[in-house]
């Protein structure tokens, strides 16, 4: 089982959800984060203080999947998250972490049926 963490643009969330649904991945967790990367940042000014920031608003998705779902899920995210055909800086990243176990709280199920 894998634990997928994807950082995407806020405005692409609906498109990504849409693509995920097509491949029948319909469980995920979403958080509002700020990101910092290749995409250029901006200068901020607060009265006497001026400073360079490059924290931009992003959305973080977390999806636990069984191994056979890994590839379709990644492809769906990629498809939905791209700003356009060729992709733009700031479209985000996908991280894949190993997942040892899952437990469904309501039923107590564990392992791959619980995902």
């Amino acid at each position: 089982m894998k634990f997928i963490i994807a950082i995407i643009r806020p405005e692409r969330l609906d498109a990504v959800k849409h693509e995920l649904q097509k491949v029948e991945v319909n469980r995920l967790t979403v958080a509002s984060v700020s990101g910092y990367g290749a995409q250029k940042g901006y200068l901020e000014v607060y009265r006497a203080f001026k400073h360079e920031v490059n924290l931009l608003e992003k959305i973080k998705l977390e999806i636990a999947v069984n191994d056979d779902f890994l590839q379709p899920t990644i492809e769906a995210i990629q498809k939905g998250a791209k700003s356009n055909e060729k992709g733009e800086i700031g479209d985000g990243k996908i991280f894949i972490l190993p997942l040892e176990d899952v437990i469904r709280i309501s039923t107590g199920e564990v392992g791959f049926t619980a995902i």
């Binding site: 806020p10 405005e11 692409r12 969330l13 609906d14 498109a15 200068l43 901020e44 931009l56």
Partner: protein
């Protein structure tokens, strides 16, 4: 005439109320945009207070209310020349009349900003409101209230034509230059904080009592009437919007209800001192349904009037101007009392204002587009206008 203290008190507080509407508008609009554009959107309302406030004293008031000709006032009151604190207009100090009218000059261009949010450059926005105030607002204000060719013809109690039609139509016109926001129609662009919008609605309604009932320019029975209609028309419009939305979309939303209230405020503006409370309820009910339909139409036609300035102010303003010609019964006689000519006059005023607003806004937009450009880059739009135009963020850790 001599100064009446009670009228002075009433128009003073009314002026403060109208300026307060800008804060209401900032919240109303600010809540509906995404987080990354909230300050930019609020600044659209705030900065107008400064720019048009100063401009009004320098030249705006003179252009709108100076003697001039049928089309525009003159230059005799540049920097309020010829007026001092002892000058009286009607029963109130001229300074108070100027301040009250100045607040109207401020709020009108700010209304337009709802169609421009999320993609207009700040510098271009500033240029736009300066030019628009002088080229569109001041003349139309002169026509209707300042002794111009519509004065005493078209009924416009508190600015249905002068304020709402001009702004609603110009908002729509600006879309020729600004197009859609990135992702419009693909992604769903949701309001980032509806509580701000509701608070803004409350502030707007509160301030609107000054806007409409203050337009009586005296604490008299007409002010009382205008107050009453400004109370019940939005109430009715909120109700009818909520009802059609509930039936049509399955849920009565808070955002929809708030928009209905606003539509009712807009529609009653030209009619406020001319119609009975019962007529005001009917007018409100109609406005809720018509503006709702206009906003839904946008969804179908697919232009990006981001915060529905046209759907609410344009459609609401036109509806109000025409219905004033239908329902007028106090200080004017409408269709229902057997005077179709008034409806014709209203119609005439609406058409002229629409044509004038479209043409001038096209020219203004074109000029700004050439000089500094209107739209931010795609990258700036993605990052948001708060960071790119103002160098700050609305919310920090």
């Amino acid at each position: 005439m001599t100064l009446v203290a009670a009228d002075t008190a009433w128009v003073l507080i009314s002026s403060a109320l109208v300026l307060f509407m800008l804060t209401g508008l900032a919240l109303f609009y600010g809540g509906m945009v995404r987080r990354k554009n909230v300050l930019s959107s609020m600044m659209h309302s705030f900065v107008v207070m400064s720019i048009v406030g100063v401009l009004w004293i320098i030249i705006g008031y003179s252009l709108a209310f100076g003697t001039g000709n049928k089309f525009i006032g003159g230059f005799e009151h540049l920097f309020l020349n010829g007026i001092d604190h002892n000058s009286v207009t009607g029963t109130i100090p001229t300074y108070t009349f100027i301040a009250f009218q100045g607040m109207f000059a401020i709020i009108t261009p700010a209304l337009i900003s709802g169609a421009l949010v999320g993609r207009i450059k700040f510098i271009s926005y500033i240029l736009f409101i300066i030019l628009w105030s002088l080229i569109v607002y001041a003349p139309v204000c002169h026509w209707v209230w300042g002794g111009g060719f519509l004065t005493g013809e078209a009924l416009d109690f508190a600015g249905g034509t002068v304020v709402h039609i001009t702004s609603g139509i110009s908002a729509l016109t600006m879309l020729v230059f600004l197009g859609k926001r990135r992702g419009y129609g693909v992604d769903v662009i949701k309001p980032h904080n509806v509580t701000l919008t509701l608070l803004g609605t409350g502030l707007l309604w509160f301030g609107w009592f000054g806007f409409n009932a203050g337009s009586a320019l005296a604490a008299n029975s007409i002010a009382a009437l205008a107050f009453m209609t400004t109370f019940v028309a939005p109430a009715a419009a909120g109700l009818s919007w909520m009802t059609v939305e509930w039936i049509n979309r399955g849920k009565p939303t808070a955002l929809g209800f708030a928009t209905g209230i606003l539509a009712g405020l807009v529609v009653i503006t030209p009619a406020a001192g001319f119609v009975t409370p019962t007529s005001a309820i009917i007018i409100g009910l109609i406005a809720g349904i018509l503006c709702y339909s206009a906003v839904m139409l946008k969804g179908k036609l697919g232009y990006d009037d981001s915060l529905d300035v046209f759907g609410v102010h344009g459609v609401g303003g036109i509806t109000g101007a025409l219905l004033t010609g239908v329902f007028a019964s106090v200080g004017g006689t409408g269709l229902l009392l057997g005077n179709p000519y008034q409806l014709y006059l209203q119609f005439e005023g609406v058409i002229i204002t629409i044509i004038y607003s479209v043409i001038c806004t096209l020219v203004i937009g074109f000029v700004i587009e050439k000089i500094v450009g209107l739209k931010v880059s795609i990258n700036e739009e993605n990052v948001g206008l708060d960071q790119t135009q103002h160098g700050e963020k609305g919310y920090n850790f």
